[in-house]
């Protein structure tokens, strides 16, 4: 098996203190690998988002070690963490993935403004958009797209920087079953064909059939199902 691109070792995260102390993550040991779609399932308040923000370098754990794309994130400053996210990680979120006042093409143009090099070439982008079935929507604004189309553009946006790692937080929350299948298949294909490390946190059981590995998270504790 290839070396892990995300690795959490004995990670704990708590919020607040005294009587308000919440253990959002407890003794997490986890690794994710290129070419695999890892699904983390859990009910509301179980610690899914906390897990993803720590794994994605947005937040520091209270204790333990987090390795992201070969770097120990506790050793990076804010700027370096911005750079790491910009260059190596693609985020697909539940909402507001796209700026409402930019059309699809301009969403990618925005990325080029801050990261001129190392992105997909024009041909690769066209190919990706075709694969996602949104190639003819390039001049549309987000409010002219359906929920499923929006999420597929968000996936393309996340992949445009050519990241090794794709992190998705509830990517299917706003979608009906047919759309869930489309988005699930796309995420699966990112792992299988584009060899990305894909982690999806969700309470949507419909995504299970697309996953290579499945974990459950409950009260901040992680357990493996598959």
């Amino acid at each position: 098996m290839e070396e892990a691109t995300i690795k959490l070792v004995n990670v704990n995260k708590h919020y607040g203190h005294g009587r308000g102390l919440v253990y959002a993550l407890q003794d997490i040991n986890f690794s994710a690998h290129p070419g695999e779609l890892t699904l983390i399932l859990g009910p509301s308040g179980s610690g899914k988002s906390t897990f993803l923000t720590i794994a994605g370098g947005l937040r520091q754990p209270s204790s333990g070690r987090v390795m992201l794309a070969g770097k120990d994130i506790s050793k990076l400053n804010n700027k370096e963490r911005d750079q790491l996210r910009l260059n190596r990680v693609g985020f697909v979120l539940q909402s507001y993935n796209l700026l409402p006042y930019l059309n699809v093409d301009e969403q990618f143009e925005l990325v080029r403004k801050v990261k001129p090099n190392g992105n997909l070439t024009d041909d690769e982008l066209t190919e990706l958009l075709e694969e996602l079935g949104i190639a003819d929507l390039r001049s549309q604004y987000p409010d002219q797209l359906s929920g499923g189309q929006n999420q597929r553009v968000a996936i393309a946006r996340a992949l445009y920087t050519n990241p090794d790692i794709v992190l998705a937080d509830e990517p299917t929350a706003a979608l009906d079953s047919a759309r869930v299948v489309v988005v699930g298949k796309e995420l699966q294909r990112l792992a299988d064909q584009r060899h990305k490390t894909v982690i999806v946190v969700t309470h949507d059981l419909r995504l299970k059939e697309h996953a290579d590995r499945i974990y459950h998270i409950n009260d901040g504790k992680l357990s493996r199902e598959k």
Binding site: D82, R85, Y96, P100, Y101, E109, K113, D169, E170
Partner: protein, 352 residues
């Protein structure tokens, strides 16, 4: 710049309203400035357009032309850069037409530089005897005509209007310019007094130094009755309005930014640097202010052209540009509040 322009282009209605608000605020402030400058000009038009550098008055007159009287022996041997000015407030009445008019009378000597070289006639000619007058051109709009007969105060003499001059205004009143003899009659002084003061178009130093008080023209203007009080009032109003517009603009930008906080959190999570977002907010504020201020300035210019010349309104470019610049700075300062908000956004908030 990219985000700023794209957003304004996509949200036309919203940003037209914001620009509209800036236009109204800027227009209001520019109108006040125009009135301030217009009134200021009516105070000083004659003094300044005649190139006055120095004014000599009676030592006890407290820098007031009105209170000053100059004796014959104090006005000996005038150089060609000095001229007697006999000033007195009067009421003029047209004999056949022309409304009753409060104004200032200036008695000048036709052999001295003011009447010889400085009066800017727009029609007619200069007076040739004690019974002829030049009036400020604004009186044409009040029905006064060349050749018409007028009466001054309660003097029985009839005077004839022989010329109209521009910039003939002093202390917010139009001027009637005639002879020093007429001044004596209007003022009711004896022949021992020859004028109210001596104006000079360059600094002079001579024996009069000891007998008369010499004032720099800036000080003289400052002490014109009401001039400083009026300017201070306007300056305060403009200052307060700038402060209020700062607050209004800051609040507007703050609300606009607040509505987009979630979008910015996502951008930050995606690794887009805060500096990039900050610049686009400042750029947006500059674009909004510049377009609002340009429209407001054009409106103010249009207004000044449309207004009758009796309204004291005037656009003086250096001051107007300075105010425009101040408004631009207000816009940039106003965007600092939202900038603070951007810097405090936690990218974690992008995940629910």
């Amino acid at each position: 710049m990219f985000l700023a322009l794209k957003e304004i282009k996509h949200e036309k209605l919203r940003y037209s309203l914001v620009i509209g608000m800036i236009v109204l605020i800027a227009y209001l402030i520019l109108m006040l400035l125009g009135l301030m400058q217009g009134l200021g000009n009516e105070n000083t038009a004659a003094v300044e357009s005649w190139g006055t550098k120095q004014v000599m008055l009676d030592k006890n007159a407290n820098v007031s032309m009105n209170q000053s009287l100059i004796k014959k022996d104090e006005a000996q041997d005038l150089t060609k850069h000095e001229a007697l000015v006999g000033q007195v407030p009067i009421v003029m009445k047209g004999i056949n037409h022309g409304q009753k008019q409060s104004m200032q009378y200036f008695g000048l000597d036709d052999s001295q530089y003011l009447l010889k070289n400085k009066i800017q006639l727009v029609s007619g000619r200069k007076p040739r005897n004690d019974h002829e007058l030049i009036l400020d051109e604004s009186l044409k709009e009040k029905g006064y005509r060349l050749g018409q007969q007028v009466k001054l105060n309660s003097l029985t003499t009839k005077f004839k209007v022989v010329g109209f001059a521009k910039n003939a205004k002093f202390n917010i009143a139009p001027l009637a310019i005639g002879s020093l003899n007429t001044w004596q009659a209007l003022k009711g002084t004896g022949p021992q007094f020859v004028a109210s003061g001596i104006w000079a178009d360059q600094k002079v130093s001579n024996s009069r130094q000891n007998k008369l008080a010499h004032y720099d023209v800036k000080k003289f203007i400052k002490k014109l009755p009401g001039y400083t009080a009026q300017n201070t009032t306007f300056e305060f109003m403009i200052g307060f309005l700038l402060m209020i517009s700062l607050i209004v603009i800051a609040i507007f930008l703050y609300i606009l930014t607040m509505q987009k906080e979630a979008q910015y959190a996502v951008l930050r999570a995606q690794g887009i640097p805060a500096g990039f977002i900050v610049w686009s907010i400042i750029a947006q504020s500059v674009i909004l202010m510049v377009s609002g201020v340009i429209v407001a300035t054009l409106l103010a210019v249009g207004t000044s052209l449309a207004m009758p010349s009796t309204v004291p309104f005037m656009i003086i470019w250096p001051q107007t540009m300075l105010l425009d610049l101040a408004l631009l700075i207000v816009g940039i300062v106003g965007s600092l509040l939202p900038v603070r908000m951007i810097l405090k956004i936690d990218p974690v908030d992008a995940l629910q």
